[in-house]
């Protein structure tokens, strides 16, 4: 007989991590499904991924660059500076909001088949990453237009993007499990992403933040990731050691908490959803 499995009240922890590995194929398929579904109506899907960062970039460049006349970093065009920050921010906010809603959206799956539930919110982060890659391609186009050559540390965006995803996944898992029991958490998520957009250096440079606010400003874990992106793509800022350390600490702590809470409430998902 192929395997023996004992299901006992309150003793499923060890099996869980094994299952997570056993179900890796489902993880890939769920990611693939979310991507395919999103881009299924091809024109609309891809156009959306292109338009969203572009329009936000235009708006921010206009408001912060032209109206508020905030300075850019070095001699970089303001639009480019905004766009290079848009990239990680959009990755973060898309990943966070889709992960948070993942279980509720997939309620029929959760109540009908067994698989480690952790796969569902994690798989949605995959969609955010694909969106991100598309936006990266557009960055290439914008850089060509501005005839801007990125510096050598360009490839650092890969670990930085990963850091951004992990940073989204932790709170994503937390909100995801809360969302199952308290449905009104879904109204909080857009608020977080909206609010976060304005306290993160997306539309402006970190250097315009007054000295006395810098300490508080850096408590936002996205500051490290965004400045890291500007360092890697534009080379206009110093490598942000301190903010990045803060980001890593936050990412780890939030991920651990997120997974813990998720695991704790996971058992009851099928009962409440």
């Amino acid at each position: 007989m192929s395997m023996e499995l004992t299901i006992e009240a309150g003793k499923t922890e060890r099996q869980y991590w094994k299952d997570l590995w056993n179900y890796k194929e489902l993880f890939l398929i769920l990611t693939w499904r979310d991507i395919v579904v999103q881009y299924k109506q091809t024109v609309v899907g891809i156009l959306w991924a292109v338009l969203r960062p572009l329009l936000t970039m235009l708006a921010f460049t206009f408001v912060f660059g032209s109206v508020a006349k905030l300075p850019s970093e070095g001699n970089v065009p303001y639009a480019l500076m905004v766009y290079s920050a848009m990239l990680p921010w959009q990755l973060f906010s898309t990943a966070l909001s889709s992960a948070s809603n993942a279980l509720v959206v997939n309620a029929n799956l959760v109540s009908k088949v067994y698989f480690p539930r952790l796969l569902v919110p994690t798989a949605t982060v995959g969609v955010a990453i694909v969106d991100f890659l598309l936006s990266m391609a557009i960055l290439g186009v914008i850089m060509c237009i501005y005839r801007y050559l990125p510096p050598i540390q360009f490839f650092a965006v890969i670990p930085l993007a990963l850091l951004g995803s992990v940073l989204a996944l932790g709170p994503g898992l937390l909100l995801c499990s809360l969302n199952v029991t308290y449905r009104d958490f879904r109204y909080i998520i857009p608020f977080i992403t909206q609010f976060g957009l304005y306290v993160s250096p997306v539309g402006f440079s970190s250097s315009v933040v007054p000295e006395k606010w810098q300490a508080l400003f850096m408590c936002n874990p996205m500051v490290g990731v965004i400045d890291g992106f500007r360092w890697a793509l534009l080379g206009t800022v110093e490598f942000p050691v301190k903010p990045l350390l803060i980001s890593v600490v936050f990412a780890t702590a939030l991920l651990v908490t997120g997974v813990k809470v998720f695991r704790k409430t996971e058992k009851t998902f099928a009962d409440v959803i």
């Binding site: 023996e4 009908k112 409440v272």
Partner: protein, 417 residues
């Protein structure tokens, strides 16, 4: 040989909150606003409810077990525990083999994806690897009969095609243990037969174990070699005497031919459902075969909905459904007029129609094509009655007839003008 499934003292407890919350989930707002209330009233308004309690049984490889019981008996809970969707509160399950559960056909089907894509998606959700699916792909498509629509999004499929494809994927899973809940309730008769055949083939031919929940007793009888009867979370009986166990499930409890209580579904509250004599007396005796009886439903309506109807399903003691009848069966001007408040809806079961025997009657109610209020088989509003008294008024036929019905038709001779 070791049993393929051993279940010991299995129990599942749910918390029922006693407040007027609409659904299973809560909102943070609700929670915050009730904090003061909860601070002052210590007593918890929650009740523990055992959906399943102390269930112990073993299943040997290759057995086909039908699980029957009224709604709320714990059938679905049992399957959910076996397929690991929910975690047990007590006890232990040991499973020696791969379990695939089919609690609903087309779980995880995505309407935007094509048939081909959904086969892979659904297969993966049910626990198949991509290689397995690839190997079985043609067989699945063939079984479902959807070759021409493989690249069409399933949202454009007819419901029949959808169900066929979904079942086809599940049927080709090849798990050691297949857990099936009521999938046969959908699809046309021919396809249902095909499904039953496939399940039989899977278990008899390949020695797989099947656990099957159905309200279709005919299907259970045909497929299963063992039956488990559940009632209010407890296992009443289990054995290979399928016919007898099914009968016991439908057997009448003694007492009057009436259901009394209070069951509410949306705007409808049923208070009484039963048979009375044509003269309006309560019946607590068998119905004579030459006697017209009236089946009535006493209910309260909070609103009058244009697509609302009430109906009755009558079953034989073996669980075969004999007929349905609804208030809205005839042309619109023949429908009974409904009013807000108390209504007594009734119809006459004519004499010389049902044969001798025991019958089981269910109340149904629905908003036509919109929603069930009281769903057949799931409805708690039921009663039994017995018909006695030979066959007809004829001096020749005093014993009962074969068959379920014993209608009386008038014969004449067309030649003798």
């Amino acid at each position: 040989m070791k049993p393929i499934i051993s279940v010991e003292n299995l129990g599942k407890q749910y918390l029922i909150k006693h407040k007027e919350s609409r659904g299973g989930y809560r909102s943070l707002r609700e929670e915050l606003f009730t904090i003061p209330k909860r601070l002052f009233s210590k007593q918890e308004h929650a009740e523990m409810f055992w959906a399943l309690q102390d269930v112990t049984f073993d299943v040997q490889q290759g057995e086909r077990i039908g699980i029957i019981g009224r709604n709320g008996a714990g059938k679905s809970t049992l399957l959910k525990l076996l397929s690991r969707i929910a975690e047990p509160s007590t006890g232990r399950i040991t499973v020696r083999g791969r379990v695939a559960s089919l609690l609903e056909v087309g779980t995880g089907f995505h309407p935007e994806l094509s048939g081909r894509e959904n086969i892979y998606l659904n297969g993966a959700i049910l626990g198949m690897t991509r290689n397995e699916i690839r190997k079985k792909f043609d067989e699945i498509v063939d079984f479902a009969g959807v070759e021409r629509f493989l690249d069409t999004p399933v949202k454009r499929y007819s419901s029949g095609m959808y169900v066929r494809l979904a079942f086809a994927v599940a049927a080709h899973l090849e798990p050691e243990i297949l857990v099936v809940d009521e999938v046969l309730a959908v699809g046309d008769a021919e396809f249902q037969k095909k499904c039953l055949g496939k399940m039989e083939e899977v278990s008899k031919g390949d020695g797989r174990t099947v656990l099957f929940i159905s309200h279709n007793m005919e299907a259970v009888k045909q497929l299963c070699n063992q039956v488990m009867v559940l009632d209010s979370g407890k296992m009443l009986a289990m054995g290979n005497d399928t016919g007898k166990l099914i009968e016991s499930y439908f057997a009448p409890q003694s007492g009057p031919t009436v259901w009394k209580g209070r069951e509410t579904s949306k705007f409808l509250t049923v208070t009484e459902f039963g048979l009375k004599s044509f003269e309006g007396e309560m019946l607590s005796r068998p119905v004579g075969i030459d006697e017209d009886v009236v089946c009535y439903v006493e209910c309260e309506l909070e609103e009058v909905h244009s697509s609302f109807n009430i109906g009755v399903a009558v079953y034989s003691r073996e669980g075969r459904c004999l007929f349905w009848t609804f208030t809205t069966d005839g042309p619109e001007d023949s429908w009974p007029e409904l009013k807000i408040g108390r209504n007594i809806l009734q119809f006459t079961i004519p004499k010389l129609f049902l044969n001798e025997g025991e019958y089981y009657v269910e109340l149904m109610a629905s908003l036509h094509q919109i929603a069930w209020l009281f769903e057949p088989v799931a409805t708690p509003v039921v009663f039994h009655f017995t018909v006695e008294g030979g066959f007809s008024l004829s001096p020749l036929w005093l014993e009962s007839r074969p068959a379920q019905l014993a209608p009386f038709f008038v014969w004449d001779n067309a030649e003798s003008a």
